[in-house]
Amino acid sequence: MNTDTRNPNASAPLDDHLAKSIRQLGIPPRPAILEKVAGEVQRDEPDFRRLAAIISADVSIAGSLLKLANSPFFGYRQRARTVQSALSMLGLNAISSAIATIVLRKVLPPLPRLERFWDASARVAQVSGWLVQQIGARDEVLSEDAYTFSLFRDCGIPIMARRFPGYFDTLAKANADPERLFTEVEELCHPTNHAVIGCLLGQSWWLPENTCVAIRHHHDFVSLRAGAGAFSPTSRRLICLAQVAEKLIQDATGRGCCCEWTKMGEASLEILAISPADFAELQAAVRDFLAQEDAA
């Protein structure tokens, strides 16, 4: 969806179309609320009150935004009680991403076999954000960036599943392949892969460049191991954080491990400068965090 932000009437027909297209086809167009937020954010003098008004118009998004700002991993001592204070705490850069993460799940095609997939993504996102706080923010990766990236990382999967029959079999194969890139296995069976889809979706939702690049390459253990050059330190760090977060969750919950850790684990720990001793500490600490998040 695309609109001329100068025209205040532009959004009315847009919302209609948006609603219609979601109803009819379940496609993920860029949500109108993101357009409106973008319109405000890119003004010379963005106004937090106007932004708050835009966001408050959707009660569920407003509620989720408050919950997000108050989530333990942002580490704020105050609690945001209004949308405006949540916005003010998060800052303009984070707002678009934060809202994108909130609406992402609503607009993607619902697939019965993927319910656990969403819970898992949300969990990886939380732990990635938490992990940044444990090991410190570097290379311009903050908690919220790691959170957004981890949530979007696999959003191409439901779209692949809708588009290509037999995709679940492909997923199983890719998960079990010890040598090839996950995305290479997908490409053997289909003309594209979930990482490219996720990247393009992220781009069209105005996610930061480094996040989109990281989504596109999040299975690329060859480039990751090769070190600098393939993508920015920021993108690299995002990929590693999610990988380590996923592993920590798997260890804490006892759920099975796929081949990704074998391919990327060592490089991820090295890039994040997590020693075996640090990792053991994190393994212990993540249990508390998960319990805390579950209680929240």
Partner: protein, 433 residues
């Protein structure tokens, strides 16, 4: 309220200080007032500590803290971040005032003091950061810290203003804004929703029926329009063109999908750059777009300039074949203005030629242009290709082009490029007629 302070200096302790930054920065942002943080590191303090002992060191810190506090104005807050590092929070003050404070601080710190019988000249490195509108609140503290470290690297006794960050808004630094290049603006557009596509209708020359629309990129950042002539070359040079191109494809495909779902199947034509077409995995992106948007492939047309065919690399060849296999129609853009070489026409799987406006502008008087137009349309007809004339501005030109046999027309005579909502209105008006 129980406020925790540092026993030695009486300043807020670290935790309390962070809470205070959060509160003051939040208030400043809400009220649209400036807020600055000074981060002060005492130079060579470790040396003082190791030469004279910790007790003497503490004594020095207490004295220095006292000097800092003596410069306080109403509303300022003082914190000790640990060891020999302090912060001063300046609500309501912009960078210029903070710099003044930093200079006065440095004067005050530099006054010699006696430790035992030794006279030392302390000094401080100071980092200054002003809250901007784009960052999470606590970043202002981190930036001040980084600026202080930068100041230390200058050799001590200096201050550094946290810079390079974008500081938009009322308190923006005009210098920083001037320094933003088109590239920076493009990046910003990509991350804040500053790009849009406008669509110019392409009509059948015979019955005036809408055949397609061409998507043209527009960029608007910080309430300023960037001309395509200024941002496209920069995008090409920096490689950003690939991302812009992917974004266009996705956005255009959504329009095609939507119009199709509304019952008006209209092709949407998108310009493809050399960088995209030479990339080995171009078609993955193409399929990703189709998968994301559920657009029928034949509604998304790719326009390629003829210069692309001059050096057909293997990648280009493979990509073109894959595009055709995926079912997308191809059009040759700006035909006749490059180093036209007709040989490639024979092998190219294109279904449409877009005749450059250069051949249209002189019509109907310019008989040479007319001869070229007629020759091209004849050739295209024999190849089974359609010919679109671009840049049609007058009725005379239109009549002349029809006489020459072009199959479709595009130009201001029919419509300028329209933002999506106006295209919808345009379509509605036409269907109502």
């Amino acid at each position: 309220m129980n406020i925790r302070t540092d026993g030695l200096t009486g300043f807020l302790d670290r935790g309390e200080c962070i809470g205070e930054v959060e509160r003051l920065a939040g208030e400043a942002r809400a009220a649209n007032t400036p807020f600055c943080v000074l981060w002060i590191g005492i130079d060579r303090f470790r040396q003082i500590n190791s030469s004279f002992g910790h007790r003497a060191g503490d004594n020095v810190l207490a004295k220095l803290a006292h000097r800092m506090k003596s410069l306080a104005r109403e509303g300022d807050r003082f914190g000790r971040m640990g060891g020999d590092e302090f912060v001063i929070l300046l609500p309501g003050r912009g960078v210029a005032e903070a710099e003044g404070t930093a200079e006065r601080l440095q004067q005050a710190l530099k006054v010699p003091m006696e430790i035992g019988h030794v006279r030392v000249r302390p000094s401080g490195s100071i980092g200054i950061a002003q809250l901007n509108t784009v960052e999470p609140l606590l970043h202002v503290l981190e930036r001040a810290d980084r600026a202080m470290l930068a100041a230390k690297r200058l050799g001590g006794g200096q201050y550094v203003v946290s810079g390079g960050e974008k500081v938009p808004g009322r308190f923006g630094n005009p210098m920083a804004q001037e320094e933003l290049t088109v590239e920076g603006l493009l990046h910003e557009a990509l991350e804040t929703g500053g790009l849009s596509l406008h669509y110019q209708p392409i009509l059948s020359a015979g019955d005036g029926k809408l055949e397609a629309v061409e998507a043209l990129m527009r960029c608007r950042v910080r309430e300023r329009n960037l001309a395509p002539a200024s941002f496209i070359p920069v995008a090409e040079k920096t490689g950003l063109i690939v991302r812009l191109g992917e974004w266009s494809l996705m956005t255009a495909a959504r329009l095609a999908q939507r119009l199709g779902a509304d019952g008006a199947a209209v092709k949407v034509a998108v310009n493809i750059s050399r960088a995209q077409l030479t990339a080995p995995k171009f078609c993955q992106a193409l399929h990703a777009v189709l998968a994301c948007t559920d657009t029928p492939a034949d509604l998304l047309e790719l326009e390629l300039t003829e210069s692309l065919f001059m050096d057909m690399s293997d990648n280009v060849r493979r990509n073109l074949a894959a595009v055709v296999e995926a079912g997308l129609p191809l059009a040759i853009d700006d035909f006749g203005t490059g180093y036209s070489c007709l040989a490639y026409l024979k092998d190219l799987p294109a279904t449409k030629i877009k005749l450059d406006r250069a051949f249209v502008v002189g019509l109907p008087e310019d008989r040479k242009s007319f001869a070229i137009v007629r020759m091209v349309t004849q050739l295209a007809r024999d190849f089974g290709m359609a010919v679109v004339a671009e840049g049609v501005e007058t009725v005379d030109q239109y009549d002349c082009l029809r006489e020459a046999g072009v199959t479709a027309v595009q130009g201001f005579l029919f419509s300028r490029p329209l933002p999506e909502y106006q295209l919808d209105q345009w379509l509605q008006e036409r269907s109502g007629q």
